[in-house]
C-alpha cells in the first residue's frame, strides 16, 4: 500500500535536510510502528506523507497503491485515503466542529465522485462514532478543537479518522498527553479500524501505546533513515535497552 523509496527531504524555508534516504514498505492490513529518538524525523515523515508544503522532497519517491503522490496536494492525498492524526490537533476558532466534519466528509466524497451525505445520514454517523469514542455531544457543538483538553483533542482526531474511513492512517504521537484511560479509548478506536484493506502507521516514542495497538512491524528511525526493522519484539527490546545499541550499530 505504501512504498517509500530512498526518500530525501528538507525544510523548504532553510534547506535543512531531515529525511536522508529513507526506505519503508507497509502492506495493506499491516500496522507498522515507527520509533526513534527525538529529532530522528518521525513527525517530519508524517507531514511529508500528508503533503505539508513546508517540506521539500529532493530525491526518491513515495508510492501509494503503486502511484507516486508527490505531485498531489494535501487535500487530494486525503481524498485518496491518507489520514494524519496530528500530534497537536489545531484549534480553529470560528469553525464549528460539526460544520467542519460535514464539509470534510462531503468534499472527500465529491472528489471520489460519490453523492454528498444527507443531513440525517451525516448526523447518524457522527452520533454513532462519537458514542464509540465516549465523546460528549456538547464537545461537538464547540468550535473545532477550541477548549478541548489534550485527551479530547486526540479522541476528536480518531473520530475524524473513523468518519473519513481512510485507507492509510498515520498516527503521530497519538499517545502523548494521554492518561491510561484515554489511551485505552483511543487505542480501541484505532483497533476498530484495523482491516485487511487498511494500513496503519503508528509513530511513537514509547512502547506503551504498542501494548494496546499491537504492531505487525516495528521500524527504528534515526537521522532520517530506517536503521533497523523487526517485529513487535523489537519494540520491547528498545524499551529495555534504549536506542543506544541500535544507533551505535548504525553509526
Amino acid at each position: 500500500m505504501l512504498e517509500i523509496k530512498n526518500l530525501h527531504a528538507r525544510i523548504a524555508e532553510d534547506g535543512t535536510e531531515i529525511i536522508r534516504g529513507l526506505d519503508l514498505t507497509v502492506k495493506a492490513g499491516e500496522v507498522a510502528a515507527i520509533m526513534g529518538p527525538n529529532g530522528s524525523g518521525k513527525s517530519t515523515l508524517s507531514y511529508i506523507l500528508s503533503g505539508r508544503e513546508d517540506y521539500e522532497v529532493t530525491e526518491g519517491d513515495i508510492l501509494y497503491n503503486g502511484e507516486s503522490i508527490l505531485e498531489l496536494d494535501a487535500s487530494e492525498r486525503a481524498a485518496k485515503g491518507i489520514f494524519l492524526a496530528f500530534q497537536y490537533p489545531v484549534e480553529i476558532p470560528g469553525v464549528a466542529t460539526m460544520q467542519f466534519l460535514k464539509v470534510a466528509m462531503n468534499e472527500q466524497r465529491k472528489y471520489r465522485g460519490e453523492d454528498e451525505l444527507t443531513t440525517p445520514e451525516f448526523m447518524r454517523r457522527v452520533k454513532e462514532a462519537a458514542a464509540n469514542l465516549k465523546i460528549a455531544p456538547d464537545m461537538l457543538r464547540r468550535p473545532l478543537n477550541v477548549g478541548f483538553s489534550g485527551g479530547e483533542k486526540k479522541r476528536a482526531e480518531i473520530l475524524q479518522m473513523a468518519l473519513l474511513e481512510p485507507k492509510l492512517c498515520v498516527l503521530d504521537e497519538t499517545d502523548s498527553g494521554l492518561d491510561i484511560d484515554a489511551l485505552r479509548v483511543v487505542a480501541d478506536g484505532v483497533n476498530a479500524l484495523r482491516s485487511p484493506d487498511r494500513a496503519v502507521v503508528v509513530i511513537t516514542h514509547y512502547q506503551r501505546l504498542l501494548d494496546y495497538i499491537v504492531p505487525d512491524t516495528v521500524h527504528v528511525l534515526y537521522r532520517g533513515q530506517v536503521v533497523k526493522s523487526g517485529d513487535k519484539t523489537l519494540a520491547h527490546e528498545l524499551e529495555a535497552n534504549g536506542y543506544a545499541d541500535i544507533i551505535g550499530a548504525a553509526a
Binding site: S50, G51, R52, E53, D54, D73, A74, S75, R77, A78, A79, F83, L84, F86, P89, V90, I92, P93, G94, V95, F100, V103, A104, E107, Q108, Y111, P143, Q160, L164
Partner: protein, 425 residues
C-alpha cells in the same frame, strides 16, 4: 475689511452646496434650525471637505476621494426590504421618507422632520468639532429620520430595525434615540441600496442610554458598489449602562463610519466589535473615539478586517481616560487579513490617559492565513479554495458568535458575511 478667502470648490463640494441652495425653502426647520443649516453650509463652502492635512481625516482624504456627488432626486422610490432578522419591528426611511407602521410596545417614535419643524432638533444639529465634516454635511441637508424613545424598564423582545433604503441620489438622515433607565433592546441600523446607481448617504444617530440600560446597537452597512456612505453615531452612557456596538461594513465605494461616545456614568461598559469586509476599489474607514469620564468604566474594542482586491481600509481608535476616571479598564485590538498584494489597511490605535490607576492596552496585527490551520483543513480533504474561505469566514464569524444569546441575530449576520464572501472571495 477682512475678506474670507473662498477656496476653489471641488465638483463634490459644489454639488453639496448646490443641493442645499436648490432646497432652500423646502428643507424642514424652524428659524433656529434654518439659521444653523446656513451656518453649517457656509462652513462647508469656506473650509471645504477635509483633506489629509486634517489629522482626523489623515487616512481618508475626503476632498480627494469624493470625486462626485449625485444630485438629490425627490422622485426616487424604493420598495421596502424584509427585515434582516425575521420578526423584527421595521421602522424605515426610504429615499428620505419616514414610515412608522410597526412601533413595538414600550417604544414611541415620530418622524424627525417634526423635530426640525418644531425646533427641538436644533441643539442636536451642532457639530462635534471643527473636523466634524459628517455632522456638518448632515446638519445642513438632513431631511428625514426618526426620533425614537424606548421607555424606562422596557425590554424589547424582538430587534428594532431602523432601515435606511436609498435607490440613488442623496439621503441625509438622523436618528436621535433614547433608552430609558433599565431598558433593554437590540437595534439594527441598516443601510442598503436597491440599485447600482450611485447614492450619497449621510446619517447621524444620537444615542443616549440612561442608568442601567442594556443595548445592542448594530450598524449594518450594505450600500451599493458606487455609493458613498458617511455615517456617525454619537453615544452617551449613564451609570451601569451597557452598550454593545457592532459595525459591519459589507458594501459601499467610499465609506466612513464614525463612532464617538462618552462613558458618563460609573460602571458604564462599552463594547465595540467591527467587521470590515472590503473588496474592489472601495475605501472604508471606521473611526472610533471613546471618552472615559468617570471612574470604574470599562470598554473593549475588537476590529476584524478582511481585505481583497485593491480595497483600502482604515481603523482609527482613540480612547481618552479623564483625570478622575480611575480604575478604567480599556482594551482595543485590530486584526487584519490582507488577501491580495494590492490590499491595504491602516490602523491607528491611540490612548490618551490622564488618570494614573487604569488598565489600558491596544494591539494591531496584519497577517496572512495561519498556515497550520490551513494545512489542518487540507489534510482532511478540504480543497484549498474552500479551506481558505472557511478560514476567512472563521476569522470574522468568531466575533459574531459573541452575540450567541440571540441565535436568529447570529444566523442573520453570519448569512451577510458568508454571502459577501461567496461573492468576493
Amino acid at each position: 475689511m477682512n475678506m474670507q478667502q473662498a477656496i476653489k470648490m471641488t465638483a463634490a463640494e459644489s454639488a453639496l452646496v448646490d443641493a442645499y441652495t436648490a432646497q432652500i425653502g423646502d428643507l424642514p426647520g424652524d428659524g433656529a434650525v434654518l439659521s444653523l443649516r446656513d451656518t453649517l453650509v457656509h462652513e462647508l463652502r469656506t473650509a471645504g471637505l477635509p483633506t489629509r492635512r486634517v489629522e482626523a481625516w489623515h487616512y481618508t482624504d475626503l476632498r480627494t476621494l469624493l470625486r462626485s456627488v449625485p444630485a438629490a432626486d425627490s422622485t426616487a422610490f424604493s420598495e421596502r426590504v424584509d427585515a434582516i432578522v425575521p420578526g423584527s419591528s421595521v421602522l424605515s426611511v426610504r429615499n428620505g421618507q419616514a414610515e412608522l407602521k410597526t412601533i413595538p410596545e414600550g417604544v414611541t417614535a415620530r418622524s424627525y422632520s417634526e423635530s426640525l419643524i418644531d425646533g427641538s432638533a436644533a441643539a442636536g444639529l451642532a457639530v462635534l468639532g471643527a473636523d466634524d465634516a459628517i455632522g456638518r454635511i448632515n446638519g445642513g441637508l438632513v431631511r428625514g429620520g426618526l426620533e425614537i424613545a424606548v421607555a424606562e424598564g422596557a425590554e424589547l423582545k424582538a430587534p428594532v430595525e431602523i432601515q435606511v433604503v436609498q435607490s440613488h441620489g442623496q439621503a441625509h438622515t438622523r436618528f436621535p434615540v433614547s433608552f430609558g433607565a433599565g431598558a433593554k433592546a437590540t437595534v439594527i441600523e441598516r443601510h442598503l441600496s436597491t440599485s447600482a446607481e450611485p447614492s450619497f448617504v449621510s446619517s447621524v444617530s444620537d444615542v443616549t442610554l440612561a442608568d442601567g440600560a442594556d443595548v445592542i446597537w448594530i450598524i449594518l452597512q450594505q450600500q451599493g458598489p458606487a455609493d458613498t456612505h458617511l455615517g456617525q453615531i454619537r453615544f452617551d452612557l449613564g451609570k451601569d449602562a451597557k452598550l454593545h456596538l457592532f459595525v459591519i461594513n459589507a458594501g459601499g465605494k467610499l465609506v466612513r463610519q464614525e463612532l464617538h461616545g462618552k462613558a458618563s456614568g460609573e460602571g458604564a461598559d462599552v463594547t465595540l466589535r467591527g467587521i470590515n469586509l472590503l473588496g474592489g476599489d472601495s475605501h472604508t474607514d471606521v473611526t472610533f473615539t471613546l471618552s472615559h469620564e468617570v471612574p470604574h468604566s470599562t470598554s473593549t474594542e475588537i476590529i476584524r478586517n478582511v481585505v481583497f482586491d485593491r480595497a483600502k481600509g482604515v481603523f482609527q481608535g482613540k480612547i481618552l481616560v479623564a483625570k478622575d476616571a480611575q480604575k478604567t479598564d480599556a482594551k482595543m485590538s485590530c486584526n487584519t487579513l490582507l488577501l491580495s498584494d494590492e490590499a491595504d489597511f491602516s490602523a491607528k490605535p491611540e490612548l490618551e490617559i490622564f488618570a494614573d490607576d487604569v488598565q489600558c492596552g491596544h494591539g494591531a496585527t496584519v497577517a496572512d492565513f495561519d498556515r497550520t490551520q490551513l494545512f489542518y483543513l487540507l489534510s482532511r480533504g478540504i480543497p484549498e479554495n474552500k479551506a481558505r474561505a472557511m478560514l476567512v469566514n472563521a476569522f470574522v464569524a468568531e466575533i459574531v458568535e459573541e452575540l450567541e444569546d440571540d441565535e436568529a441575530l447570529v444566523e442573520a449576520l453570519e448569512g451577510v458575511i458568508s454571502a459577501w464572501l461567496e461573492k468576493h472571495a
